[in-house]
Amino acid sequence: MSTPSARARRSPGEVGIWVFVIGDMIVFAVFFAVIVVLAAEQPDLVRESQARLSVTSGALNTILLLTSSVLVALAVRAAREPGAAHHLRARKLFGFALACGLGFAVIKAAEYGTKIDAGLVPATNDFFAYFYVFTAIHLLHVTAGIGVLVWLMRLSGRPALTAKDRMLIESGASYWHMVDLLWVVLFPLLYLVN
């Protein structure tokens, strides 16, 4: 930050993005509660249904998103440094994070395809209804995040970054970290816990 006031240092990015991030986390907390209630009410159904999910693709996606989060954090750090070389590095790192995000979407789509081929659709039972809806809502977040990463690539590649540019980069990065965090909770709840 070129003007390090106490206010600007309080939170990464602009304060407004945290309205979105915290609000979204509260709603996902409701989703998580819904899964926990279902597991308590119908433990056998949840156990049998979970056994038919692919932990491998879920775990692979977890690794992809965690990796992308590290890349985004490194990119934000590079964008803070002055100089075109650092900014090109930031752009490249955002690009790799973007590739991870796309990989996540491809694996998710393949997973949906396999499940539907096996006759497991939202109408199969309550567990699969929630599985499809929650992961689809999360995938929608990932899709929006891919758009955000494309925008961050364009923004961070500029030779000179203003304080406002850096703030926008941090805001976008905060959103991506949230997408990652939500999956890290959603994955064990849907695929593992019972």
Binding site: F20, G23, D24, V34, A129, Y130, I137
Partner: protein
């Protein structure tokens, strides 16, 4: 004078929430009748306390009119933000206008079901479905309206934006959370049914909250607009308001 009318429009937001939810409770629809009920059970719901049900529905119908002044006010302030050639204030107006109907039309369907509660239960059930599905699931008007507001606020390039940037994010987030409304078509029980945790309870809270929050931030914008106009009228030499002035504005 206009600033005073604007203030009245802003207060229609909390007034709507009070009237709408009072009607909702009087109608006995909180919690809502389940979409999983059979025709006889639905018919019994309409026969049980028909007078309160009708009264509550009429109150909710009246409340639909209270959303209109707030929508008009948002268009005025968005016009200040986005300028005369931006389509966003008009887009907001289209979404908000459809929003009035999104409350009004289901109320007429509910009232038709309550009009003759002793008719064939199958018909009452069909009318009840016809009312509840759009009432809870009709998300496009609100999404269009809130997305237009969110984009207009975030695109504001002023040093000190007319509406704070967090309100932009807040509108986009709320718009996003109205999307699961489309799932009411597929679920008869659980979190995504029209009486479910996500589609009904979360959305009901967000919906009411939106009117309160928008009213609050708009009232502040109106006060600031009034102060600007007064200082402009008093003499163009007055210094621009600082952040300290902004904090000093009485709540």
């Amino acid at each position: 004078m206009n600033s005073r009318i604007q203030m009245w429009c802003a207060w229609c937001g909390p007034a709507f929430v009070a009237v709408f939810f009072t009607g909702f409770i009087v109608a006995g629809m909180i919690p809502p009748p389940s979409p999983g009920w059979n025709a006889e059970r639905v018919a019994a719901f309409y026969q049980e306390d028909t007078d309160s049900l009708r009264a509550g529905l009429v109150v909710m119908m009246i409340s639909a009119g209270l959303t209109a002044p707030l929508v008009a006010l948002i268009s005025v302030q968005l016009r200040r933000i986005a300028g005369p050639d931006s389509p966003l204030p008009t887009l907001q107006l289209i979404g908000g206008t459809a929003g009035v109907l999104a409350i009004l039309v289901p109320m007429w369907m509910f009232l038709a079901a309550a009009f003759e509660p002793t008719r064939d239960p199958q018909i009452t059930e069909a009318l009840n479905d016809l009312a509840f599905l759009p009432f809870i699931g009709n998300f496009p008007p609100a999404c269009v309206q809130l997305a237009a507001i969110g984009v207009a606020i975030l695109a504001d390039q002023r040093e000190k934006p007319i509406l704070p940037r967090w309100v932009g994010y807040y509108n986009l987030w709320t718009a996003f959370l109205f999307l699961p409304g489309l799932l009411v078509v597929y679920f008869k029980d659980g979190a995504f049914a029209w009486n479910g945790a996500v589609v009904f309870w979360v959305v009901a809270v967000l919906f009411g909250n939106w009117f309160i929050v928008m009213s609050h931030v708009l009232r502040r914008a109106i006060r600031e607009q009034r102060a600007e106009e007064e200082s402009a009228a008093a003499g163009a030499t007055a210094p621009p308001p600082t952040s300290a002035d902004r904090e000093a504005v009485p709540a």
